[in-house]
């Protein structure tokens, strides 16, 4: 079932790649191949491999643990870039680590402490010691 789905997605992706390659406008003929051929070949490989997989799927056991925890980490990761510049590295990273810690079974208080500590340690290490500028928050830290 999973293999059939993966095969189908591959076929669609391959078809999309080939279609996209054909829409490319080449301003001048720099070399006889141009930018179209390579994506077309890749698309063909995807369609072929996807077709084989869909036609003769193996058995894939979809195993999930507590996927809600992975989802929590993922959501925190997706929000993180939005907060990074407005809040600054330390605050945003502390929030990311706090959410991450909770997802890894920490109790709230230790999670908060370790999150703030992690954020501060990385800020000092990267920004102060290694001189890699990280975003400052409204307070200038």
């Amino acid at each position: 079932m999973v293999d059939r789905l993966v095969g189908l997605i591959s076929i669609l992706l391959g078809a999309g790649a080939i279609w996209h390659a054909q829409t490319l406008h080449v301003p001048f003929a720099a070399d006889p191949v141009g930018p179209r051929v390579f994506p077309t070949v890749i698309g063909a490989v995807l369609i072929l491999a996807g077709g084989i997989l869909a036609a003769r799927p193996g058995k894939v056991e979809l195993e999930f643990g507590t996927w809600q925890r992975a989802l929590a980490v993922l959501v925190a990761s997706l929000i993180y870039p939005l907060l990074l510049l407005p809040l600054g590295f330390i605050l945003a990273t502390a929030l990311l680590c706090f959410a991450g810690s909770l997802a890894f079974h920490a109790r709230p208080l230790p999670a908060a402490v370790s999150a703030v500590a992690t954020a501060v340690v990385f800020f000092v290490l990267l920004d102060k010691l290694l001189d890699l500028p990280l975003p400052r928050g409204p307070l200038g830290i």
């Binding site: 993966v6 006889p32 141009g34 193996g58 925890r69 991450g100 990385f122 890699l132």
Partner: protein, 500 residues
């Protein structure tokens, strides 16, 4: 004699204070990161890669650091395999077979010691072999034309397919995805935008560091968050320490494993996991009298030695041919390219300080690792006691901080996470990540050579099969693609018990 002189100049590079410090930092961090459960060599290299660029380290220094992380993590990985029965990466599964029983019977300290010695023997012998083999191999490749390179790359993709336990077609899907991801951005030959969908941010293509971090850090943390990996630390002490006789007892096993590991490491596409599995099986066949799997020292020494020999061996084709032999060396090849250095035949003549500095640093690094890993192994083992809720969020934060430091763009973090989601889905569906990585790194080289070949022949495809070398390589590739297919058909004929 040639190699000796070159190696000496290499030592001059490797022995500068900065490079010594960096080599030490690399191997120590590598051991530490490798020791963490669930985190293997490729994760270690991926994690530190953005920092190397952000710090603007000179190329040889950056590579000494990354290489140190790579073979250092080979030493560290054994700790969680032996004490927790959790292999940090596929190359370490075999280490658990005899390592964990030894630890359970109270001989954890001895098990750690013999595997540390095995890692040293494997790592160092492989560096010696590399010193003498790299240049001849590079000379061989000097005569390669664009068509030969196209065939060589297709062959290394094909070899990846033969080694995957799952279906070979899934490897091809991963390869195609990697090539496709590499197409995003402006085409170098004509300036045409490909797969950018009008997005300004995608014009420059998908950044190599974002891809690596997404594949091997973000996805890893997501999988770990599901909590499928757990274990109980078994005690190190209690039983008798390692005796000199036991070391001697393991020497033949180590030597055999070095040969197997190095050879399989050099073959493009096959990595440490295959090598350690083969070494264990071979050793079992040669010396098993019923004690293997119950805590036989040789059953532990063989895969550990092969693992490290293969890691170093896989750097040979990366340096000499510009074709990586494993996922982690693919990451390193990407690192070379970010410095606009093309590994391959010309590396040893044009940038000897990089090539030989790196090789020389590996002699030093392995010595450092022996010292770090025999008396101080307890310190690294204590890392296993750091709670997951401090460790993994910290790794995630460091990953994003690294990507930001390289790109100075918050949008790049979103791309990284998106790649993490893709990698997570691929892992669930049983599609290997390494071929995607390898294909992404080689894509530019493959397309450039492909187009160069065809512009030589004015568009005629026959040029791809025009030289003897290319014909041999194509035939090998066809074999490598054909054999798993035949095997699958044969298995279909047999009763359903064997169906995976």
């Amino acid at each position: 004699m040639d190699a000796f002189a070159a190696l000496l100049t290499g030592f001059q590079v490797a022995l500068t204070p900065l490079n010594l410090a960096v080599a030490f930092a690399g191997v120590a961090l590598g051991t530490a990161i490798g020791a963490l459960p669930g985190i293997g060599p490729i994760n270690a290299v991926a994690l530190l890669l953005p920092l190397c660029f952000a710090l603007k380290l000179p190329p040889e220094t950056a590579l000494i650091l990354l290489a140190g992380l790579y073979y250092g993590s080979g030493y560290g990985g054994r700790i969680s395999s032996i004490l927790l029965n959790i292999p940090g990466d596929p190359g370490l599964v075999m280490t658990t077979l005899d390592g964990y029983p030894l630890a359970k019977s109270g001989r954890g300290a001895a098990a750690l010691a013999i595997s540390g010695i095995g890692s040293f023997v494997g790592g160092t012998s492989a560096v010696i072999l590399m010193t003498f083999l790299a240049v001849p191999l590079a000379r061989l490749a000097l005569s390669f034309g664009p068509a030969d390179y196209v065939a060589l790359m297709v062959l290394s993709f094909a070899l990846l397919g033969t080694m995957s336990e799952d279906k070979a077609v899934k490897t091809w899907i991963a390869v195609a995805l990697g090539l496709l991801l590499a197409m995003v951005g402006i085409d170098g030959g004509t300036g045409v935008e490909r797969f950018t969908f009008g997005s300004m941010e995608l014009l420059g293509g998908i950044d190599f560091t974002s891809l690596t971090i997404g594949l091997f850090a973000v996805a890893e943390i997501l999988v770990l968050a599901e909590g499928m990996v757990t274990g109980v630390v078994s005690r190190t002490g209690g039983g008798a320490g390692l005796s000199f006789r036991e070391i001697l007892f393991c020497v033949p096993a180590m030597l055999r494993a070095t040969g197997i590991g190095f050879f399989l490491g050099v073959l493009p596409g096959t990595g440490a996991s295959v090598a350690s599995a083969m070494a264990y099986t071979a050793e079992k066949r040669v010396s098993d009298k019923g004690s293997f799997g119950k805590g036989d020292m040789r059953g532990l020494a063989a895969p550990e030695t092969a693992d490290n020999a293969a890691q170093t061996g896989s750097m040979v084709p990366m340096l000499a041919l510009g074709i990586p032999g494993s996922g982690t060396t693919a990451v390193m090849l990407g690192a070379f390219m970010m410095y606009s250095i093309t590994p391959g035949p010309l590396l040893f003549t044009q940038r000897p300080e990089v090539a030989w500095g790196l090789i020389a640093s590996m002699y030093i690094g392995n010595l450092m690792l022996l010292v770090l890993n025999l008396p101080l192994v307890g310190l690294f083992a204590r890392l296993l006691l750091v709670p997951a809720w401090i460790l993994y969020p910290g790794i995630l934060a460091l990953s994003y901080a690294g990507v930001y430091a390289v790109s100075n763009s918050a949008f790049e973090l979103t791309i990284t996470t998106a790649i993490g989601i893709l990698a997570y889905a691929m892992r669930k569906a049983g599609i290997p990540l390494i071929p995607l990585m390898l294909a992404f790194v080689l894509a530019r080289l493959l397309e450039d050579n492909f187009r160069r070949a065809l512009s030589l022949s004015d568009g005629g495809y026959e040029i791809l099969f025009s030289t003897p070398t290319s014909i041999v390589l194509w035939l090998l590739a066809v074999l490598a693609i054909g054999i798993p297919a035949v095997r699958q058909v044969m298995q279909r004929g047999r009763p359903a018990v064997h169906e995976a």
